[in-house]
């Protein structure tokens, strides 16, 4: 900068200045380096072999940063090199730094060098300091390091093997595992075990084998856990000192020299419990092993932690059935409230608690008589109970026998037999071992009572009530039972009985509930007697397990419960009044604790009656019902499944299945209770033919009808003259005035387009002209539409054609028939089906002129005339209308005759063209033959059918002749 300032003055004058500045700078720099960064002096090494730590100390002037390098001396390999900040000892200015080696420090020699550093500058390296390993030539033996290290599970450990001088390493094993090896020096080899697992109590062996000789060098490593004790608690037994207990917690896997050491309040505890002479009030447990330590604390007041010692010198003083138990205490508890537990063991074990200050004696009451007991005692603090003390040693004693109680006796009657039965005495009631029972029973008429002796274990005696009652005039009987036991004979228990012979009242059902069988009854207000309810298995015959309960007077209900009740078993309950004084049976019930399905099925039988099958079955025996039967279900089997036919009530045991056809049928009847159906009784039946009777009936009916018809025909034949006179009187020949030039022709009618046409009689007759009225069942009006438009030859029903000859007194006027219509109509007629509801006409109307047929008159039946028409020869046949035609086809007379048909005459007189038009209307041109009056003839209509008349007359003549010839 000075140079810059002066540059304006003179450039040549600046050179000496720059040289001076440069020299001063170099001089200053060299001066600073030489004075601050001193080489570390007095480097010393201190090895901690168990921890594998190397402590390095040196004097390094004022520098605070140093570089340290650690080398394996033999191979000059760098183990560590880094810049460190060392701690300075303020007193002496000594620096110190500690390095932890991965390998044991014994493995090989290490060289340490240090230099000071500040910024980029550093001092010279110090002289190397060497920590000698155990692999130096002067130590020629084989070795392994570390010797006996203790590490935590999961850690890593590096071992080194120093082979003997002159040997070469062959293998290193960790337990049974061959390890990878790293050479550290000429004789030293290292290996590392990673993630080590817990070792055995004797540790895991690590050893190396050299080549050539089986000389082993090795070490043992112990892998475990630090201590984790728990549940420290301190208590007192003598009310002065404290005893502490704890749980060791998980196993540390370390034993022997490495086992966990415990101390309580700094007092060493050789065992798992430890005491203090005074009650400290708070305690600290310290657990230590090579892997760490753990601390637990506890604190409490003395009164809250009293655990009495075990009672000693127990004695038992026996009265008859009471015992006094005494004991002594090791310590003075006289001022301490104690609660003591006494365990009594005989056939069962009971515990009784007693309490008191300084308790040392208890009285045990209500023991069994003549019973051996074992008793022991333990105690605790009643106030602030902490825990029970230890049990005392047990002592044994035996109570004395005594007179037994009287038994509860009852007389169970089952028809003519009975049982004197008594409830077994409890241990308390027997008061000693029972030797036997004495049963005495008598009746007033008997001179000497009967006495029976029964051994212990019996609780009933069967008696013959019939024989017994024969001695008694009033049917009163008595029995007593006494118990003989070790302690004496009981007072007798008396049971009176009156044999009335009366059947009990009707059984009632009782339904079991969770509290038992509920029974209730009315109380007789005047009675002061108590009650007794007795129950037993309803179907038990011998040695029945009868039970009973006695009830106080005035009681009106009870629920009977017993552990002996079984599902599906029917129980009888009997209520007796005055059980102590000739009891009277009041009511009876039956019930099931749980209903089941019947255990057996009905026996099913089948019988065929015509086309019906009658099913019958028997009742299921009571013992097999296992519940209250509710009814029967009747099924028929349909292959694999049953189809319900009927559900019958319990009173029905027959059922008729109707209308079955042939083949085999299988039926099943199942009885059911509230629990469901039983398996069912099954029967099959093969049906015989059942239709013969019906056929016979039909044939018989037909025969009867035939007989009647034959009789009628015979009668008619015999009386045909009368019949003819009555029904077909002779009709005079019509006298035709004038010209019969009118042509006759068919009356073509077009019926309604329906297949069915009813031709009915027109009730009101047109006086001017008769008409056959055809009325279609439906759509009469529509039926007349378009008749003239109908095609000539169709398959559908066509027009109706009648040869109605209307006799009109009026002159017959010539008509002008439409030949084409006539022709077509004649064809259509062949397809006409006509239903004639009746023909009622006089014989005279059927008489035709007998003049011969004109050559011009021809019958021309339609070729397609239905055969049925001809076949109905016996029946009514519509007339075949002659058709005036120029056809050259020959007349087929036989066919016309064969029709044999009756030809109602048709005679139409059309007064006006309008009428002529109307003839096409079905309403006016159709008429029923029955509507034809006997005074009128059915003649062809109009003149255009003149020639047809001849043919009609010929047919009428034939019919007349027939009737005439039939005259007798």
């Amino acid at each position: 900068m000075a140079c810059l300032l002066k540059s304006t003055i003179s450039k040549s004058d600046c050179r000496p200045f720059w040289v001076v500045v440069l020299l001063l700078g170099i001089s200053a720099e060299n001066t600073q380096a030489k004075t601050v960064l001193a080489v570390p002096q007095h480097v010393s090494l201190s090895a901690n072999y168990p921890t594998q730590q190397l402590s390095i100390s040196w004097f390094g002037g004022k520098a605070t940063i140093f570089e340290i390098i650690i080398l394996r001396t033999e191979f000059n390999e760098t183990v560590f090199y880094d810049t460190v900040s060392a701690v300075v000892n303020q007193d002496g200015g000594q620096h110190q730094w500690t390095w932890t080696s991965v390998e044991p420090l014994e493995c090989t020699s290490l060289s340490v060098k240090i230099c000071s550093r500040e910024g980029n500058a550093r001092s010279e390296w110090s002289e190397p300091q060497i920590l000698e390993g155990r692999d130096i030539p002067s130590n020629s033996d084989a070795q392994m390091y570390p010797h006996s290290k203790v590490v935590s599970v999961g850690s890593n450990t590096t071992f080194c093997c120093i082979v003997a001088e002159g040997m070469e390493l062959k293998k290193i094993y960790y337990g049974g595992t061959l390890m990878n090896v790293t050479r550290l020096s000429r004789r030293s080899y290292a290996t590392t075990a990673v993630n080590q697992t817990a070792s055995r109590p004797s540790g895991t062996n690590v050893f190396c084998l050299p080549h050539g000789r089986n000389v082993i060098s090795g070490a043992v490593i112990f892998v475990g856990y630090p201590p984790r004790p728990r549940k420290l608690s301190c208590e007192t037994q003598d009310l002065i000192s404290a005893v502490c207990h704890w749980d060791e917690g998980p196993d540390t896997n370390l034993q022997g020299n490495r086992t966990t050491r415990y101390s309580i309040n700094n007092r060493y505890c050789p065992q798992k419990s430890c005491g203090t002479p005074q009650w400290d009030g708070s305690w600290t447990l310290v657990a230590v092993n090579p892997l760490g330590q753990y601390t637990l604390t506890d604190s409490a007041e003395l009164d809250h932690r009293v655990c009495p010692v075990e009672p000693v010198n127990l004695t038992a003083v026996v009265q008859i059935f009471n015992v006094t138990v005494d004991w002594k205490w090791k310590y003075d508890y006289s001022n301490h409230e104690l609660v003591c537990q006494v365990e009594l063991v005989s056939s069962n074990t009971t515990l009784r608690n007693f309490s008191g200050k300084g308790l040392h004696s208890v009285v045990l009451l209500d023991l069994h008589f003549d019973e051996e007991y074992r008793v022991k005692v333990r105690c605790g603090s009643q106030k602030h109970f902490w825990k029970w003390g230890s049990w005392s040693k047990a002592v044994t004693f035996k109570t004395k026998p005594y007179v037994p109680d009287s038994p509860d006796v009852w007389l169970w009657v089952n028809r003519d037999s009975g049982q004197i039965i008594w409830k077994p005495l409890t241990r308390w009631q027997s008061r000693g071992q029972i030797k036997g029972y004495q049963v005495t029973f008598w009746s007033p008429g008997e001179n000497e009572p009967s006495v029976k002796f029964l051994s212990a274990g019996n609780n009933f005696l069967s008696v013959n009530l019939t024989r017994w009652a024969s001695f008694s005039g009033d049917n009163k009987l008595n029995a007593t039972v006494t118990v003989k036991a070790v302690g004496g004979v009981s007072r007798p228990s008396n049971v009176p009985l009156r044999l009335t012979g009366e059947e009990p009242s009707a059984l009632e059902k009782t339904v079991y509930t969770s509290s038992g069988f509920p029974l209730s009854w009315q109380h007789n207000g005047n009675s002061t007697c108590s009650y007794l309810v007795e129950w037993c298995d309803a179907f038990c015959m011998h040695d029945c397990p009868v039970d009973w309960i006695r009830l106080d007077a005035g009681k009106t209900n009870v629920s009977i419960q017993s552990a002996n009740f079984q599902p599906g078993v029917r129980y009888n309950f009997s209520l007796y009044s005055c059980p102590s004084d000739f009891p009277v049976l009041m009511r009876r019930w039956i019930g099931y604790m749980q209903e089941l399905v019947p255990s057996s099925s009905v026996n099913l039988e089948t019988t065929q009656q015509d086309c019906d099958v009658v099913l019958t079955w028997d009742e299921i025996p009571l013992a097999n019902r296992r519940g209250f039967l509710q009814g029967y279900n009747v099924y028929i089997s349909n292959g694999s499944q049953l189809i319900l036919l009927a559900n019958l009530n319990i009173g029905t045991r027959t059922y008729t299945v109707k209308g079955l056809s042939g083949s085999t049928h299988k039926f099943t009847v199942k009885a059911y209770t509230s629990a469901g159906e039983d398996t069912g009784g099954t029967a099959a039946i093969s049906m015989k033919e059942c239709g013969d009777g019906l056929i016979l009936e039909i044939l018989a009916s037909l025969g009867m009808v035939t007989l009647l018809l034959v009789t009628a025909a015979y009668f008619c034949y015999k009386k045909r003259g009368w019949v003819k006179k009555a029904f077909y009187p002779d009709i005079p020949e019509p006298k035709l005035p004038g010209d019969w030039s009118r042509t006759r022709g068919p009356l073509d009618l077009k019926p309604a387009p329906h297949s069915m046409v009813n031709i009915i009689e027109k009730p009101e007759r047109d006086l001017i002209k008769d008409a056959l009225i055809a009325i279609a069942e439906e759509e009469e009006i529509d039926a007349g539409d378009g008749i003239g438009d109908e095609p000539v030859d169709t398959d559908e029903p066509q027009s109706l054609r009648y040869y109605n000859q209307v006799v009109d007194e009026r002159p017959i006027r010539p008509r002008f028939p439409d030949s084409s219509v006539s022709s077509s109509s004649s064809v259509d007629s062949a397809n006409t089906d006509v239903t004639y509801t009746g023909i009622q006409t006089s014989c005279s109307s059927l008489v035709f002129p007998s003049d011969s047929q004109s050559p011009s008159e021809v019958f021309q039946p339609h070729h397609s005339l239905p055969v049925s028409s001809g076949d109905r020869g016996g029946g009514y046949q519509p007339q075949m209308h002659p058709v005036a035609s120029a056809s050259s086809e020959p007349l087929e007379e036989p066919q016309a005759l064969s029709s044999g048909g009756y030809k109602p005459q048709s005679s139409w007189l059309l007064d006006s063209p309008r009428e002529a038009d109307e003839k096409m209307s079905p309403t006016h041109s159709l008429g029923s033959p029955t509507s034809v009056s006997s005074s009128q003839f059915l003649l062809p209509d109009g003149e255009e059918h003149k020639e047809e008349r001849q043919a009609s007359s010929s047919a009428a003549a034939w019919f007349t002749n027939l009737l005439t010839s039939a005259k007798p």
């Binding site: 392994m144 010797h147 006996s148 094993y173 049974g176 055995r200 109590p201 004797s202 540790g203 062996n205 050893f207 084998l209 089986n214 000389v215 082993i216 090795g218 070490a219 043992v220 112990f222 034993q255 022997g256 020299n257 086992t259």
Partner: protein
């Protein structure tokens, strides 16, 4: 395994004179030898590295005899002395193992106690065979138990050597007692 063998004899059993006594001593030594072998087998099953180790053959227990050709009785007396040292070694082994490892496997510990009892009984037997009335033959362990073992691994190696020593002297006892038994007119087969 140990339970299947003969139970340890009690010290109160009265000595049996003559060849019967020597025969019993031979049988006892034979039983001791067998049990020591079983104990070593158990030990090697636990410390498997010993399978690769060949013992150096040196003796831990040595005898010093004054006569060049001792008699059978003298040999038994020497044997008695060696067995006392063996008992001392066994006592020391039990102590050191207890300190170092605590309780080890039950079978190993049980068999170790059987060997100890059997060895004590053999000492009583040899004393009864060749001892004087003045009680010059002791039956107490003769070992100071002051060996320095080099860590746990060194203890294992030392234990191995002790077990080998026990087997050696049990075998030697059987042979020596058999010679005495033969001299006293006992049968060859025992």
């Amino acid at each position: 395994m140990a339970e299947q063998e003969e139970q340890p004899l009690t010290r109160s059993e009265a000595p049996v004179p003559g060849s019967t006594q020597t025969g019993r001593a031979v049988a006892l030594a034979r039983l001791l030898q067998r049990e020591c072998s079983q104990l070593l087998q158990l030990y090697k099953e636990r410390e498997t590295f010993l399978l690769d180790h060949a013992p150096d053959g040196g003796r831990m227990v040595s005898l010093s005899t004054e006569s060049e050709e001792p008699s059978a009785e003298e040999q038994v007396q020497l044997l008695h002395s060696a067995l006392r040292q063996c008992l001392g070694l066994l006592h020391c082994l039990i102590k050191k193992e207890e300190e170092e490892w605590g309780k080890l496997e039950q079978e190993y510990e049980t068999l170790k106690m059987h060997v100890k009892t059997r060895l004590e009984r053999l000492l009583y037997t040899t004393r009864d065979l060749v001892g004087n009335e003045d009680g010059t033959l002791e039956v107490t362990p003769d070992h100071q138990c002051n060996e320095e073992v080099d860590g746990p691994f060194g203890l294992k190696m030392w234990t191995y050597n002790v077990l080998l020593e026990l087997i050696h002297w049990a075998d030697h006892a059987e042979k020596t007692l058999h010679v005495l038994h033969t001299e006293k007119g006992g049968t060859e087969e025992i």
